[in-house]
C-alpha cells in the first residue's frame, strides 16, 4: 500500500519523531510504501507534497494536536491514532488500516 502519514506531538520534542520512526520501520517491514511528515519543534519536516498525498491510498494521522495545513488532506481517507499508539504498537496501526 502507498501510505502517507503525519506525526505531531504537543511538546514536539520526542514523540513526534519516535512515532515517525516506528511508522517508517514497521511499514517497511510489512512491505508498504510510506512517507512520513513530522510536525514538531523543528517545524514541518519531510513535507508531503500535493502529488505525495494524491497518490496515497490512505493517510495516517498519529497526532496529539491539530495537524497544520490540514486542507491538503481534504477528501482523503484518514485514519487517526494517538501518538502513543504509533510508538508502542505500530503493527496494530497498520492492522487497523485493513478496515
Amino acid at each position: 500500500m502507498k501510505i502517507v502519514a503525519v506525526t505531531a506531538c504537543p511538546t514536539g520534542i520526542a514523540h513526534t519523531y519516535m512515532a515517525a520512526e516506528q511508522l517508517e520501520k514497521t511499514a517497511k517491514a510489512l512491505g508498504h510504501d510510506i512517507k512520513v511528515e513530522t510536525q514538531g519543534a523543528m517545524g514541518i519536516e519531510n513535507e508531503l507534497s500535493e502529488s505525495d498525498i494524491d497518490s496515497a491510498e490512505i493517510v495516517i494521522f498519529a497526532v496529539g494536536i491539530d495537524v497544520e495545513q490540514r486542507e491538503r488532506f481534504d477528501g482523503k481517507k484518514i485514519v487517526s491514532v494517538e501518538v502513543q499508539q504509533a510508538i508502542k504498537d505500530p503493527k496494530q496501526v497498520f492492522e487497523g488500516l485493513k478496515n
Binding site: T11, I13, G40, G64
Partner: protein, 839 residues
C-alpha cells in the same frame, strides 16, 4: 559639664534588647549620669539599664535624646555618638528574614493525599525526623513561690545568686562560637547586671518579700512592660527575661513545674507552642532536624538562634502540637513553608534527595567563597563588597568578597553635632585595612549634599540639590573636614591596602586639586614621622557624565575609576529613579546607557586604567553577562548578592559575553535587550548536550517522582538550569499531557522551559525497574530526560533530540543501553548514536 546628642532610631524593630544592651554597655564605661529620652512621649530612662531602655519602647524613627552629666560627660558623648552612628544601624543584621519566599507545593504532590500543615518559614532548609513534643518551661506565678519554697539553697544573698548565675552564663558563653548564640547569652548577662532589674529586686527584699518571690515579681514587671510594647521584636524579649528569671530560681533550688531539657534519640523534628533560646542552646543540635512552633514571631531570639544554626524552622503553625503526633515521622520544608506528617515513601525519598542536593550546593558556595571568581575561559573578575560601616566587612568577606569596592564614609558624618575627629576616623579606617588585608578597601571620601544634609556643613537652600553643591564640590569650602578625613586615611594606609576615591567628579580641576591636597598632607604627615603606604591608590567615581569624555586626561591623574551606575544613570537619562510615573526610563538596560558604559570602559581600559563598578547594576545577576562582556576589572556588589554572582561567573564564557553584549547594544529598546539576555546564556556556544555528570549509571530511585527529581537535581548541580523547581514543574506538566513512556522499559520525560540554561540530556539507568504510568503496566528501567531552552527553535540541538528519539526505537540500541554498567559506557553509546547525524 553636660552634652546632648539627638538621633532618630534607625532600627526597623525599634530599640530592642540587643541594641539596648550594647548601648548600655557603652554608657556603663563612664561615671557620668547618662539618660536616654524618647522625645515623643517625654519618657526618660537610665541609659545604663537595658531593661529601662527597652521599656521606653523606642520605635523606628522615633527621636531620642541622650544627655550626659558629669565629669567625663564629653567623652561619654563622643563614645555614644560613635555607637549611634557606627554600630546601632547594624544591630539587626541577622534579624531580617531575607529571601524566604513561599512557593507553591511541588507539583507532583498535589495529586497525593498528603497530610500537611503550613506555617511561616523562619529559616531555610529541609529536615526529616521523628516528631518530639516539647514544652516551654512555664513561668511560675508569684503566689506559688511565696509559699516558702527555695529555702534550702546555700545562696543567702542576691549578690551571691547573681554572681553564681553570671559565672554559669559566662561559662556557656565561652563554649559558644556563633555570633547569634553569643549575642543572646550576652543579652542575658546584661539583664543580670541591669541596674533597674537589680534595684527592683532589692526594693522588694527591703519590703520583706522572699528572694524567689522578688525575682518572679521583678521579671514579671519587666516582662509585662516588654509584652505591651508596640514593636513585635520587643514583645519577643519577654521570654529572655523569663529565661534569666528561671535560671535564678533554679539556682535557688526552686522547683519550677516544667519538663527539663529534651533528650533526643535520633533525628527529630521538635514541635512546641514556643521555645526559649536557652532550651534551644541546651538541645543536642546534631539530632535536631527541624523546629515547628505554634507561636514565636520570626524575630524571637529562639528563631535567630535557629537560623544561625541552620535549623529549618516554621513558626505560626496553628495547632501544630495537636496535629503532629509524637513519635510519627515528619518532614519540614522551609522553602515551601510546610510540614508533612507521616509522609509516604515517595515523598520522603524526594526530600532526602532535596536535602542532599542543598548540602552539596551549600558546600560548593562555601568553597567558592574563598577563591577568586574566574569565567569558564579563565578570565578573572574581582567580586568586592559595598559597605557603609566597618562592621560589615568581615561578614562580607565570609560570603566571598575579595575586598571592599566601596566604603561609603558619609555614615560616619550623619546625625552628629560636628564632624568625626581624625582619630575616630583613623581607628575605623585602620580597622578595615587590617581586617581586609591583603585585600583592598576603596574608601570614598565624604559624599554629602543638600539631599543628605549634614547640619554642621551649613548647606545652602537649593532648588535642585541633586544637581547642586555636593560631593567633591564642597571640599574647598570645608578644608578642615576633608583634610582630617584624608589624613585619617593616609595614616591608616600603613595597615593594609587602602585606596582613596572621590565622588561626583566633573572636571579635571577637581581631580588636580584633590591630588595636590593629598600630596601636601602626605608630606606633612611624613615630616611628622608617620609612615604612609607609598602604593596608596587614588581614583574617582564615574557618575557625572562629563568625566566620561575626559578619559585620556583623567587616566594620567588617577590609578583607577569606579562606575557609580545609580547616579550616572539618573544624570544620563534625566530621570529621578524614585519617580513613580516614569519608572521604566530609569532602567540600566536602556541600550543608550549600555553604549555609554561601553564607551566609558573602553576609554579607560585603553589608557590602561583599572575599571570597577559599584552601582546597583553590578549586583544584578541578570546583568552579569553584559558586565563581563564590557571587560570590567571588578564588580562591587551588595553583600547578600555575593554568593550568587560568584556562582554565575564560572558559568560564563567571556567571548560569548562579548557577543551577547554586542547584540544588546544593537537592540533599540529595554524589552529587546532583556529578551536577548534571556535567550542567550553567556556560555561558550558549544556546551555539550550530554556530560558524564548528568548520567546516573545505577540509580536507587524507587518511584517516578524520585527518578525525575534525581535527574533535575543533576541538571541543577551541573548549572544547566537556573531554577530546578521550575524545571521540575515543566517536566511534570508534560507528563500530565500524556505519559512519556515509550515502550520497552524506556521513558523520555522532556520539556521546553525558560528555566533551562543550555540544552541538556540527563540519563538514569535504574537498578530495579519502577512504575511509570497507571495506563501502561510496564515498568521503566531507563529514563532519558531532555531539557530544552524555551527560546531555541529549530537549532542543532533539536535535531539531536529527534535523532535520539528515532534511535531509541531500535532494539539493539536499547539493549546496549540497558546492559551498560557505567556512566562512561552510557555516554559512549549515546554519543555514538547521536554522532551519526550529518549536518
Amino acid at each position: 559639664m553636660s552634652s546632648a546628642l539627638t538621633f532618630r532610631c534607625p532600627l526597623p524593630f525599634g530599640l530592642h534588647a540587643r541594641p539596648a544592651s550594647q548601648l548600655a554597655e557603652v554608657a556603663q564605661q563612664y561615671s557620668a549620669q547618662i539618660t536616654l529620652t524618647r522625645t515623643k512621649t517625654e519618657t526618660t530612662a537610665d541609659a545604663k539599664s537595658v531593661l529601662a531602655i527597652v521599656s521606653l519602647d523606642v520605635c523606628h524613627n522615633d527621636e531620642c535624646l541622650i544627655l550626659a552629666v558629669g565629669k567625663d560627660a564629653e567623652d561619654a558623648q563622643e563614645a555614644l555618638g560613635r555607637f549611634v552612628q557606627n554600630s546601632l544601624p547594624h544591630c539587626d543584621e541577622d534579624v531580617t528574614l531575607g529571601e524566604h519566599t513561599r512557593r507553591p507545593l511541588p507539583r507532583m504532590f498535589r495529586g497525593l493525599a498528603l497530610d500537611w500543615i503550613s506555617g511561616t518559614p523562619a529559616s531555610h532548609g529541609v529536615g526529616i525526623g521523628c516528631v518530639v513534643h516539647a514544652q516551654r518551661r512555664s513561668w511560675p506565678s508569684p503566689d506559688r513561690i511565696a509559699l516558702g519554697e527555695g529555702t534550702e539553697s546555700s545562696i543567702q544573698t542576691l549578690e551571691q545568686l547573681l554572681n553564681r548565675v553570671r559565672n554559669v552564663l559566662a561559662g556557656e558563653l565561652s563554649e559558644q562560637t556563633g555570633s547569634a548564640a553569643r549575642g543572646i547569652l550576652e543579652a542575658h548577662l546584661a539583664i543580670l547586671g541591669d541596674p533597674g532589674f537589680i534595684a527592683r529586686i532589692e526594693s522588694l527584699l527591703n519590703n520583706s518579700v522572699t528572694l524567689p518571690a522578688a525575682i518572679v515579681n521583678a521579671c514579671d514587671t519587666f516582662a509585662d512592660a516588654l509584652r505591651s510594647a508596640q514593636s513585635p521584636y520587643v514583645r519577643e524579649r519577654a521570654i529572655d527575661v523569663e529565661d534569666v528569671g528561671l535560671r535564678l530560681l533554679e539556682h535557688l533550688g526552686v522547683v519550677v513545674d516544667s519538663p527539663g531539657n529534651i533528650a533526643l534519640d535520633g533525628p527529630s523534628v521538635l514541635v512546641a507552642d514556643n521555645w526559649s533560646p536557652r532550651q534551644l542552646l541546651a538541645a543536642d543540635r546534631s539530632k535536631l532536624e527541624g523546629l515547628i512552633l505554634q507561636h514565636g514571631g520570626s524575630t524571637s531570639h529562639t528563631i535567630i538562634l535557629a537560623r544561625s544554626f541552620s535549623i529549618p524552622t516554621l513558626v505560626s503553625v496553628s495547632n501544630a502540637v495537636l496535629r503532629m503526633t509524637e513519635g510519627s515521622q515528619a518532614i519540614i520544608d522551609a522553602q515551601h513553608g510546610l510540614a508533612i506528617c507521616d509522609p509516604p515513601g515517595e515523598v520522603r525519598a524526594y526530600y532526602e534527595r532535596e536535602r542532599n542536593k542543598q548540602a552539596i550546593i551549600n558546600r560548593r558556595r562555601s568553597n567558592r567563597a574563598g577563591k577568586p571568581a574566574r569565567t569558564n575561559d579563565g578570565v578573572r573578575v574581582e567580586i568586592a563588597a559595598n559597605i557603609a560601616s566597618a562592621d560589615e566587612l568581615i561578614p562580607a568577606i565570609e560570603r566571598g568578597a575579595e575586598g571592599a569596592g566601596l566604603f561609603r564614609t558619609e555614615m560616619l558624618f550623619f546625625g552628629r553635632q560636628k564632624a568625626p575627629s581624625e582619630e575616630t576616623q583613623y581607628e575605623i579606617y585602620s580597622r578595615v585595612a587590617k581586617e581586609a588585608r591583603p585585600k583592598p578597601v576603596i574608601i570614598r571620601t565624604l559624599d554629602a549634599g543638600g539631599d543628605k544634609p549634614i547640619t554642621y556643613l551649613n548647606f545652602p537652600d537649593e532648588a535642585n540639590p541633586f544637581l547642586g553643591y555636593r560631593g567633591t564640590r564642597i571640599y574647598q569650602a570645608h578644608l578642615d573636614i576633608i583634610d582630617s578625613q584624608l589624613r585619617a586615611v593616609l595614616r591608616a594606609s600603613a595597615h593594609g591596602d587602602l585606596w582613596i576615591m572621590a565622588p561626583m567628579v566633573s572636571t579635571l580641576d577637581e581631580i588636580e586639586w584633590l591630588k595636590n591636597r593629598l600630596a601636601m598632607l602626605q608630606r606633612q604627615l611624613r615630616d611628622k614621622g608617620h609612615s604612609i603606604n607609598t602604593q596608596l591608590k587614588f581614583g574617582i567615581m564615574v557618575e557625572v557624565p562629563s568625566i566620561a569624555y575626559l578619559a585620556p586626561e583623567v587616566s594620567r591623574l588617577v590609578d583607577f575609576v569606579s562606575i557609580g551606575t545609580n547616579d550616572l544613570l539618573q544624570y544620563f537619562i534625566a530621570t529621578d529613579r524614585g519617580h513613580p510615573e516614569i519608572q521604566e526610563l530609569s532602567s540600566p538596560y536602556q541600550p543608550a546607557f549600555l553604549r555609554f558604559l561601553r564607551h566609558i570602559v573602553d576609554a579607560f581600559r585603553l589608557a590602561g586604567i583599572w575599571v570597577g563598578m559599584c552601582g546597583e547594576f553590578a549586583s544584578d545577576v541578570r546583568a552579569t553577562p553584559l558586565l563581563v562582556g564590557l571587560g570590567l576589572n571588578e564588580l562591587s556588589v551588595s553583600p547578600p548578592n555575593i554568593p550568587v554572582i560568584k556562582s554565575e561567573i564560572p558559568q560564563l564564557d567571556s567571548g560569548h559575553c562579548r557577543t551577547v553584549l554586542e547584540k544588546c547594544l544593537n537592540c533599540g529598546t529595554v524589552e529587546k535587550v532583556q529578551a536577548t539576555l534571556a535567550s542567550e546564556s553567556g556560555y561558550a556556544a558549544t556546551r555539550p548536550l550530554l556530560a558524564i555528570d548528568t548520567i546516573v549509571a545505577r540509580s536507587t530511585a524507587k518511584h517516578k517522582e524520585e527518578a525525575i527529581k534525581e535527574l533535575v537535581d543533576k541538571l541543577e548541580l551541573a548549572d544547566r538550569t537556573r531554577d530546578g523547581f521550575h524545571l521540575e514543574e515543566a517536566i511534570w506538566q508534560r507528563e500530565d499531557t500524556y505519559s512519556t513512556y515509550m515502550g520497552h522499559g524506556f521513558a523520555v520525560p522532556h520539556c521546553k522551559s525558560d528555566a533551562v540554561r543550555t540544552n541538556s540530556i540527563a540519563v538514569t539507568r535504574l537498578a530495579s525497574p519502577i512504575a511509570w504510568s497507571k495506563s501502561d503496566n510496564e515498568p521503566v528501567q531507563f529514563v532519558i530526560m531532555l531539557a530544552m531552552r524555551a527560546s531555541d527553535e529549530a537549532g542543532m540541538h533539536m535535531r539531536i533530540f529527534s535523532r535520539l528519539a528515532r534511535r531509541l526505537m531500535h532494539e539493539d540500541v536499547r539493549n546496549n543501553l540497558i546492559s551498560a554498567e557505567t556512566a562512561e559506557k552510557i555516554h559512549e553509546i549515546l554519543t555514538r548514536e547521536l554522532a551519526t547525524i550529518n549536518e
